[in-house]
Amino acid sequence: MNSSVSIKDLSLNFGAVSVLKDLNLEINDGEFLVLLGSSGCGKSTLLNCIAGLLDISEGQIHIKGRNVTWEEPKDRGIGMVFQSYALYPQMTVEKNLSFGLQVAKIPQSDIDKRVARASEILQIQPLLKRKPAELSGGQRQRVAIGRALVRDVDVFLFDEPLSNLDAKLRSELRVEIKRLHQSLKNTMIYVTHDQIEALTLADRIAIMKNGEIQQLADPTTIYNKPKSLFVAGFIGSPSMNFLRGEIAKRGDATVFTANGVDFNVDAYEASGPLQAGRKVTLGVRPEHIKVNENLGAEVHDATVDIEEPMGADNLLWLKHAGHTMSVRINGARRFSPGSQVKLGFDMSLASIFDAETELRL
């Protein structure tokens, strides 16, 4: 696959502060890449660098095989959608869409055609004569996407486009953006701090922290095989259960032991041998713990502390050998606080991290 956007050894410093450090990223043609991280991790900064709105300190940016490191934003073949929509308030929707084309001195007949096409795709034809102030949040964001659409760009850049919308609209527009990507097949780079958006939209997710990419992989890999303790804790809600302990041998079996309780981890596919005595952190997702059924060979006792029914799911907070654990079960299965339950752990789906390096073993 030929790459659409390629970032080489990119660094950005604001004075003495290093915001992005030696960042390398290859984004394939037609790929939907999500930059995910908490605020201040540099994800929006990276997007602004790609857009050309920020001058980088070192490195190169290529778009469609062309070195655009020193190019103006308009010459990079990018369209950008902002969190606050950034529609020009004094212009009608139609003018908003055509402004960039008029600046580029494209013939009026061509402009009309492109505006008509974009407004049809986004279903905003009835709104063309209105001002942004007369639109709802969802409509405004649709117009903002349209503004990128009319310019016929190679790469769409989204800077937290749904963060200002309420939950219902957010999920609707999320689906629309995905549909748009499926029909247009453009490269899209999407910045968000919302892991649901990241997991649902992305072909690949780049998880960022302190200006560095922690893991770049498809959503399934990110979710099931997180590369580090940070990634494991960041993705998933409620968060993965972490138990601190060490590896030990019990005869032939390898176990993880914490607070005097052993967990058989023979089923875990480690990248290297798990030496006895090594300090590690065991991570188990709430839905990978079985309660009272399909327990497997090893059974643990626990007490229900709090129950949080969430409709489809039921979340149990359990006390187990000095740990607090969250477990996700079917919403139909109810447990009262204080009741005793039996737990089974599926170690083939667990993660083990080195306590020192915090990397996956």
Binding site: S84, A86, G100
Partner: protein, 312 residues
């Protein structure tokens, strides 16, 4: 007990129109509460305090001199005459000239209009560049400019006289217009920079992605969103420049004296009798322009905000 409750709810269901006792609906307000008396009393006293001098000026300007000599400054005119107004505008004497305030009025217009336009035009671009196009040393430049706002004018008068003389425009209207434009620059630039900095940065970014350049973004995106701040700047400059006395005296010749200087000369002229009615009329005439600007653009200003010109 349960029965009575059931009974009551049944009653309510049958007669839903105000079947309940006690306070309900809008709380009645007492007109003559101690709070209202204090509030309106204070407001009335303050208003009277500010309006009384204006009242005295207006009634005095409408009286003839014999009536003024009687000394009842608060009594309304027995016989209304517009003679003092005409005299103040057209024939009052200052030294050798006897064409009243009219000459000063037109001088002031010729000074104020270009000064306001030039200073606002330059300051708005300054503010825009400083807020949106951070360049190397822009913060330093801005700091120096702001310091300029705090230096007393008097310190700079003599150097500026020399500079204007060397440029050959000392004593001309052009010279005075340049001086006014320069002295308005620090505060206006500060005003515009802060306003543009408060506009969403993403709008500016979006316009850059759309391919607009420095001037296109300024003229097509920023200026249309900035009516309120332009009105504020205009009010500041018109009143400031119109009311200026010092620069008018120092940097121009008598034939270019602005209205304020002319007014001073009329009021302070020593020959003959003090014509209080003419002086009052002349003073009101001079103050009329800033007043009109306040009334007209103040309303525009409020409308600009109410129309959502600033909201995204």
């Amino acid at each position: 007990m349960p029965d009575t409750i059931a009974l009551k709810t049944a009653e309510v269901a049958l007669a839903p129109v105000k079947s309940f006792d006690g306070p309900n609906g809008k709380k009645p307000k007492r007109v003559l509460s101690p709070r209202n008396i204090m509030l309106y009393g204070t407001l009335f006293v303050a208003a009277a305090y500010y309006l009384l001098p204006l009242y005295v000026m207006i009634v005095t300007s409408l009286k003839g001199m014999p009536e003024i000599r009687m000394g009842n400054i608060f009594s309304p005119p027995m016989e209304i005459t517009f003679e003092p107004w005409v005299k103040a505008w057209a024939t009052a004497c200052t030294g050798l000239n006897c064409d009243g305030l009219s000459r000063g009025f037109w001088n002031s217009v010729r000074i104020t209009v270009p000064s306001v336009i030039v200073s606002i035009a330059i300051a708005s671009v300054n503010g825009y560049a400083l807020a949106n196009w951070r360049f190397k040393g822009s913060e330093l430049f801005f700091s120096i400019l702001v310091i300029g706002a705090f230096i007393p004018y008097q310190v700079m008068i003599y150097p500026i006289v020399i500079v204007l003389r060397e440029m050959g425009i000392y004593g001309t209207l052009t010279g005075l217009i340049i001086v006014h434009s320069i002295f308005g620059m620090p505060i206006l630039t500060l005003l515009f920079r802060n306003y543009f900095a408060s506009l969403p940065q993403e709008l500016f970014k979006a316009a850059r992605v759309d391919g607009a350049g420095f001037w296109q973004i300024f003229l097509k995106i920023m200026v249309p969103m900035s009516l309120p701040i332009f009105v504020v700047a205009m009010i500041l400059q018109v009143t400031g420049i119109w009311n200026d006395f010092l620069f008018g005296v120092v940097f121009t010749r008598p034939e270019y004296y602005p209205m304020t200087v002319q007014l001073n000369n009329i009021v302070n002229s020593v020959q003959g009798v003090k014509e209080y009615n003419v002086n009052m009329a002349a003073t009101i005439l001079t103050g009329l322009v800033p007043l009109i600007v306040y009334f007209v653009s103040g309303r525009l200003f409020v409308r600009g905000i109410a129309a959502g010109a600033v909201k995204g």
